[in-house]
Symmetry: C3
Subunit: 209 residues, 3 copies
């Protein structure tokens, strides 16, 4: 009886976590929450999964219409990613709001349903900074960039891998994240399924000061 | 061994329920099943989650294009809701077909992934009636309206909360539901993630009589 | 303690399988993976679930825009299917790539959330062949068609039913699948929610020879 109660409660909790975006952690890089991709390296142009030529329409900031796939759940579907040229590149994301970042999750398609996972990023680093809307340009921004963490995406681990932000990053507030990958698992292009950014919102009193 | 069999069967059943729209209950207010929003109070106009200004295009009945979010699964994503102005308002839904209503489920985003849940409805009531296509207007309709249930949406309970229809509603057949909320959990606007209406279809012989 | 470890590992594995498209099997007929419907029998024209008249626009091969619903997850939603006229008909699918087929999965909406399941296919057969891009026409193609399996979709079993490919199909490579249904469970039209095709890619050295 004790075991049955334990088993039932554990199952309910695990399914609840699964239903809550898989991790049950707030994601400040979610498109439906207001985050967006503001810059990225050259996209890999291909025929889309649905058989049409990808419409590589870009907005005035030269951001591909497909870039937001990175900020959207994949629901276990291979192909629901944003492909970039080469085995190195980057994506820059404006978060929903300014936060003190605590961790970043990189997700690729699950092994059991993947055709091939050699397009997954392997080594890389994640940086962050606070973007000032006016009186600055992107070059100026990048001067204030600091390292959040370096990572290795391991194909033998769970498909959603969470990397904690380094102690050295302190309690700095950021609203922009840059994801650089410097190698991948073997393909001439790299597919990014999803990036999530976890953390906490600074106290509003602190914000007003 | 007995315990293992118990645990395995329980897990399979719980995952099956989760896969079956979370509740495993037929929903007569589902958009993909043919239900639609026919009327609502003033929408809250905002920038959308994906960074564009919401296209508050409305059809000839002045129903917002975003209203059907209420009749669509949210899949654990914050932002997949229909925002209305103020802390009180209403939504009116034409069901897929006429039913004897038994319960209504109100769903908000799960606590573990929410940025803020103070836009959730708090107190309200749900009414229903049978719409006559011809020879009536909406005013006339509302005269035949009867109360299905009153509710309090409690932020400390599960994010999908089911409210049983009152005995006093009897076995009345309805094809239209009105959801009124009279307070929310603190925001100047109110977000509705999803409404489901459960019940049974009246016997077809009865219908033809 | 031993039981707790068993229960926890079993739950994690089952949820992982659920998250991996429900079955944890690679699907070569997935739209986001590059598969597409190339031909089908006459569609059932109806009002759509969302209340608009279906836009039965067809591409130059007379394939309905709604046909790809068959190659897309339904996420437990009734109505996310492709409806065909009558109680018999067919759908022809070009796979993502050429494979040695091992099994086919036919999925209908789950019993617990369905309004009515009498539009489900009942008896049928699945055939396959290797399409040659040039110098052939569809008639020629069909001459090389061979039987993969016959099936009965049983409403009393799980909603996703997997049928193994017959031994007689050998290790033939196919890139095109034809799904014929010869009866359904009672409706004047037949709804197909999803078809998946499982198998293995032939060794690339073999491919080049
Ligand atoms: K994605
Ligand atoms: K929704
Ligand atoms: K589908």
């Amino acid at each position: 009886d004790e075991f049955r109660v334990y088993a039932r409660e554990m199952v309910e909790k695990e399914i609840e976590k699964h239903a809550a975006d898989g991790l049950g952690k707030v994601d400040y890089a979610l498109a439906s929450g207001g985050a967006r991709v503001v810059k990225h390296s050259e996209p890999f142009i291909t025929k889309s999964g649905s058989g049409d030529v990808f419409s590589w329409l870009t907005n005035r900031n030269a951001v591909s219409n497909n870039a937001d796939k990175i900020l959207t759940p994949s629901f276990g579907e291979p192909g629901q990613c944003f492909p970039l040229k080469g085995d190195s590149g980057f994506v820059q994301i404006r978060l929903r709001t300014a936060i003190i970042p605590e961790a970043v999750t990189l997700e690729h398609v699950a092994k059991s349903v993947a055709y091939d996972r050699s397009s997954a990023p392997k080594n890389g680093r994640i940086s962050g900074w606070l973007h000032k809307e006016k009186g600055t340009d992107l070059a100026a921004d990048s001067e204030k960039m600091f390292l959040l963490t370096e990572f290795i995406y391991d194909l033998d681990k769970s498909n959603a891998q969470t990397f904690d932000v380094l102690q050295s990053a302190g309690s700095n507030v950021v609203d922009t994240i840059r994801f650089d990958f410097t190698s991948n698992h073997g393909q001439p292009h790299t597919c990014i399924y999803r990036l999530r950014v976890h953390g906490r919102e600074p106290n509003s009193l602190v914000m007003q000061s």
